[in-house]
C-alpha cells in the first residue's frame, strides 16, 4: 500500500539487492518491494529539516533529520520512555517564585513554543519551580533554550525528596552559544537545533544533563533565567524532559510533548521471502540517545523477541564488552564475528556490514564464514572474521527483517540493505 511520500530514485528499478530501504525515500515500502510494519502505540515527536518539532500519530514511522550528520531517516527507539516532567511544554503551570516575568510562545519551535523568561530583580532569584514525582533512579534532564543574558548565567536544578540536590547545572553564554558548568551531575549534550532562530535572531539549542541517582518521592525541578540573585537577565526556555536513563545513556531521547508523558516502544520490521544464501547485510544509522547501543540493531530472520532464533543473522551492539558482533545462529550454536572499537558517541554515524558465507561441512576453510565490518563517521572500516564453517539453514528463523530488537535506546536508520554475495563497505554504500 502506498501512503504517500515516494521520493524514490530510479535505482528502485534496477536494485541488485534482496532487500533495500532508504530513509530519504520517506516511504514505508522498501525499494525492493517489502512493506514496512511499524508499531508504536502512542504519538511521538520528530525534528524536521528546518528545526521544528512535529507530531507523528501512533503506529506511524518518524522520518526525521539530524543536523550534525545531515542524516535523514526513520527514528527508531525500541524502548518506551516516560517524561516525568508533567508540564513539559511551557512554564504557564509552573510555580512562580519571586515574580519572574514570562512572554509566552516567544520562540517558534513547531508544536513547541519557547517562553521568554526574565528575572528583573537585582536582589532576589526569580525563577520557576515544578513538583516532580521521582522514582529511585537516575534521570536525564533536557530542555530547549535560546540566548540568555550574555553576562549572567542561567541555572537548572533537580532536588529529590530528602531533599538533596541531584542536578545543578549552570548555563553559561558565549554570545548566543550556551555551555554547561556542572556543580552536581554530568553535562551530556549541547546540541544546536537546525536553522531555528529565536525572534531576535539567536540559535536554539537542546541541552541535556545526567543527574545523580535520586531517592523515590516528591522532588523539585527549577529553571532560573539567571542564577545569581543580585543579577538580572533573560532566557528562552521550554520543552523540559525528565527521563529515567537506560544503561550507557549519554544523550537525551526524543522529546515527549504531552503532560501524560508516555511514548510507547517503537518496532520496525519488513517481511522477507528470500531463502538463506551467502549474503551481505548492511546498515547505516546515527547513534542517538546513548554512547553505546546494547542489543540487536538489525536482525535478519529474527522474530523480534530478545532471543535469537535458529537460522538468523543479527548485528548486535554489546555494551558490556564495547564491541559490535555479527552472529549467525543455527542448531542452537552461535557463530560470531566480533569487532571491538571505541564506542561511537551520541550523534555519530555508524555503518555496519556483515558477510555471511556458506562454509559447508565441518572442515576448516581458508575464508572465515562470517565477517563484520564497522565504520564510524565514514572513517576507514575495521573488520574481523569469525566462526567455524557455517551450514546455512534451509529457512530463516522467521520471515522478518527487524530494525531494533531488545533494549536499544535509539537510532536514526538511514539505510538497510541485503545483497547476495560478499560486498565491500564501499559497494554497500553505493549499490541498491
Amino acid at each position: 500500500m502506498s501512503r504517500g511520500a515516494i521520493f524514490r530514485t530510479p535505482t528502485a528499478l534496477r536494485s541488485l539487492a534482496l532487500f533495500a530501504w532508504d530513509g530519504r525515500d520517506n516511504e514505508d515500502v522498501a525499494r525492493t518491494g517489502q512493506a514496512l510494519t511499524f508499531v508504536r502505540n502512542d504519538p511521538a515527536w520528530a525534528m524536521g529539516t528546518e528545526g521544528k518539532l512535529f507530531r507523528v500519530q501512533e503506529d506511524q514511522p518518524r522520518f526525521a533529520y539530524h543536523k550534525a550528520t545531515g542524516a535523514y531517516g526513520m527514528l527508531i527507539e525500541p524502548t518506551a520512555v516516560t517524561n516525568a516532567c508533567t508540564q513539559p511544554k511551557n512554564f504557564a503551570s509552573w510555580t512562580v517564585v519571586n515574580s519572574p516575568s514570562r512572554v509566552a510562545a516567544a520562540c517558534d519551535l513547531g508544536v513547541l513554543k519557547l517562553d521568554y523568561l526574565t528575572d528583573d530583580s537585582g536582589s532576589l532569584q526569580e525563577y520557576y519551580s515544578l513538583a516532580q514525582t521521582l522514582a529511585a533512579a537516575q534521570y536525564v534532564v533536557s530542555l530547549y533554550i535560546s540566548r540568555g543574558y550574555t553576562a549572567n548565567s542561567g541555572q537548572i536544578t533537580l532536588a529529590d525528596v530528602t531533599p538533596t540536590t541531584r542536578l545543578d547545572a549552570q548555563i553559561n553564554w558565549t554570545g548566543d552559544v550556551p555551555s554547561l558548568a556542572m556543580t552536581t551531575g554530568t553535562a551530556l549534550q549541547v546540541e544546536e537545533v537546525p536553522n531555528v532562530l529565536s525572534p531576535l535572531g539567536y540559535k536554539v539549542y537542546r541541552i541535556s544533563m545526567l543527574a545523580v541517582s535520586a531517592s523515590a518521592g516528591a522532588g523539585t525541578l527549577t529553571v532560573r533565567p539567571v542564577k545569581t540573585a543580585a543579577s538580572t537577565g533573560q532566557m528562552y526556555a521550554g520543552g523540559v524532559q525528565v527521563e529515567q536513563i537506560t544503561t550507557g545513556q549519554t544523550g537525551p531521547r526524543s522529546y515527549i510533548h504531552l503532560a501524560s508523558g508516555v511514548r510507547a516502544a517503537e518496532t520496525a520490521y519488513w517481511s522477507i521471502a528470500f531463502a538463506p544464501v551467502a549474503l551481505t547485510l548492511y546498515t547505516s544509522f546515527v547513534n542517538l540517545g546513548v554512547a553505546e547501543v546494547a542489543g540487536t540493531i538489525i536482525g535478519l530472520g529474527h522474530d523480534g523477541t530478545g532471543t535469537q532464533p535458529n537460522g538468523s543473522l543479527v548485528l548486535n551492539r554489546e555494551i558490556a564488552t564495547g564491541r559490535f558482533d555479527a552472529i549467525y545462529k543455527s542448531g542452537g550454536v552461535s557463530y560470531t564475528a566480533q569487532r571491538s572499537l571505541t564506542a561511537p558517541t551520541y550523534g555519530q554515524r555508524v555503518e555496519l556490514r556483515a558477510v555471511l558465507r556458506a562454509g559447508g561441512g565441518a572442515a576448516a576453510t581458508a575464508t572465515a564464514p562470517l565477517t563484520i565490518g564497522v565504520s564510524v563517521n565514514s572513517a576507514a572500516e575495521t573488520t574481523a572474521d569469525g566462526g567455524p564453517p557455517v551450514v546455512l539453514d534451509s529457512a530463516w528463523g522467521s520471515s522478518r527483517l527487524y530494525a531494533g530488537v531488545g533494549s536499544i535506546p535509539g537510532f536514526l536508520l538511514e539505510a538497510l540493505k541485503v545483497f547476495p554475495g560478499a560486498l565491500t563497505m564501499a559497494e554497500c554504500r553505493s549499490k541498491w
Partner: protein, 266 residues
C-alpha cells in the same frame, strides 16, 4: 577522480575517463503560454496553462582506456550499458546532494572495435535526456505544520510537489483542509476532504506526487484511500512554486508536516 555518478556509482568505475560534459548546467528552455495585446506593453500569461520546460539533453564524451583486450573492453561497455538502462539518477561531483533523472538515448563509439593496442583510447559519446530538466535535492525538506500557523516553504529555483500529513493533533476537529497561500496571504489553492473526520491519533496524507489521499484510522490500525473525498472545485493537488513564496496552513486545529524535495533549474 569521480566526475559523474550514475545511480550513485562513479562512471569512472566503468573504466572510462570523462573528457567533456555539456548542457548539465544550462537553464532549461521554458515555454510560457502568452498572448500579446496590441497597444499594451509586454504580454499576458494565459491563465490555467502551466509553463512547459523542455528536456535537458546532456552529452558526455569519454575515453575507454583500461582494456587490454577487445573482449575486456566489450565487457566494461556492457556493464556501463546495463547501468544505463531505464531511468537513471544523474549527479555530479560538483554537488552530489542533488540529482537529475533521465535516460540514455545514444551511446556512440569511435574506435571501440579496434584492438586495444591499436587504439588504446577509444572514444565514447553518451547522450542523456532528462525529460524533467530540473535538479532535485536528494534529502527531502521536512517541515512542521503547527496548528493554526501559516508556514513559509523554503524552495529552490523551480516548482516542486510534496506530501502533506495532517494529524488530529491536540485540538483538531471539523473539516480537514490544507490551504496554500502566496506571500501576500492570498489563497492559491485548498485541498479539502469532505466526509472525513479525524479522531484522536488518526491522520490523513495528501500526496501531491501520486495524486492520492489516504486516511489512517488509529482505532483499527488501517489505511483507506480517500482520494474520492477531495471536493472537486479547484482541488488540484498542490504545486509549490517559488515565485509565489508560498505558505501552507492546516485548518481547524489540526497539525502535521510537509515533505518535499527542493527543485532547481540549474
Amino acid at each position: 577522480m569521480a566526475t559523474v555518478y550514475l545511480n550513485g556509482e562513479a562512471i569512472e568505475n566503468y573504466g572510462v575517463i570523462v573528457t567533456g560534459l555539456t548542457d548539465w548546467l544550462d537553464v532549461p528552455r521554458t515555454e510560457y503560454p502568452v498572448v500579446e495585446i496590441p497597444g499594451a506593453p509586454g504580454v499576458r500569461l494565459v491563465g490555467g496553462i502551466a509553463p512547459k520546460s523542455s528536456p535537458r539533453q546532456m552529452t558526455m564524451t569519454c575515453y575507454l582506456n583500461t582494456a587490454a583486450t577487445l573482449a575486456e573492453r566489450r565487457s566494461k561497455l556492457a556493464a556501463l550499458a546495463l547501468a544505463c538502462r531505464g531511468l537513471i539518477e544523474w549527479s555530479t561531483s560538483e554537488d552530489t546532494n542533488r540529482a537529475c533523472y533521465g535516460v540514455l538515448e545514444e551511446g556512440a563509439g569511435r574506435g571501440i572495435q579496434e584492438e586495444a593496442l591499436a587504439n588504446p583510447f577509444a572514444l565514447l559519446t553518451l547522450r542523456f535526456t532528462a525529460h524533467d530538466p530540473h535538479w532535485y535535492q536528494k534529502v527531502p525538506t521536512l517541515l512542521a505544520l503547527p496548528s493554526g500557523e501559516r508556514v513559509s516553504l523554503p524552495l529552490g529555483s523551480a516548482p516542486c510537489r510534496g506530501v502533506i500529513t495532517i494529524n488530529h493533533g491536540e485540538s483538531g476537529s471539523g473539516t480537514v483542509e490544507a490551504v496554500l497561500r502566496d506571500k501576500t496571504g492570498t489563497m492559491l489553492q485548498t485541498l479539502t476532504l469532505t466526509g472525513v473526520t479525524l479522531a484522536t491519533d488518526d491522520s490523513v496524507v495528501l500526496d501531491s506526487i501520486n495524486f492520492e489521499a489516504w486516511r489512517y484510522l488509529a482505532a483499527t490500525n488501517t489505511w483507506s484511500n480517500v482520494t474520492a473525498n477531495l471536493t472537486t472545485a479547484g482541488q488540484d493537488f498542490f504545486v509549490f512554486d517559488p515565485l509565489d513564496q508560498p505558505t501552507l496552513a492546516l485548518s481547524n486545529g489540526y497539525d502535521g508536516s510537509v515533505a518535499y524535495r527542493k527543485a532547481e533549474q540549474l
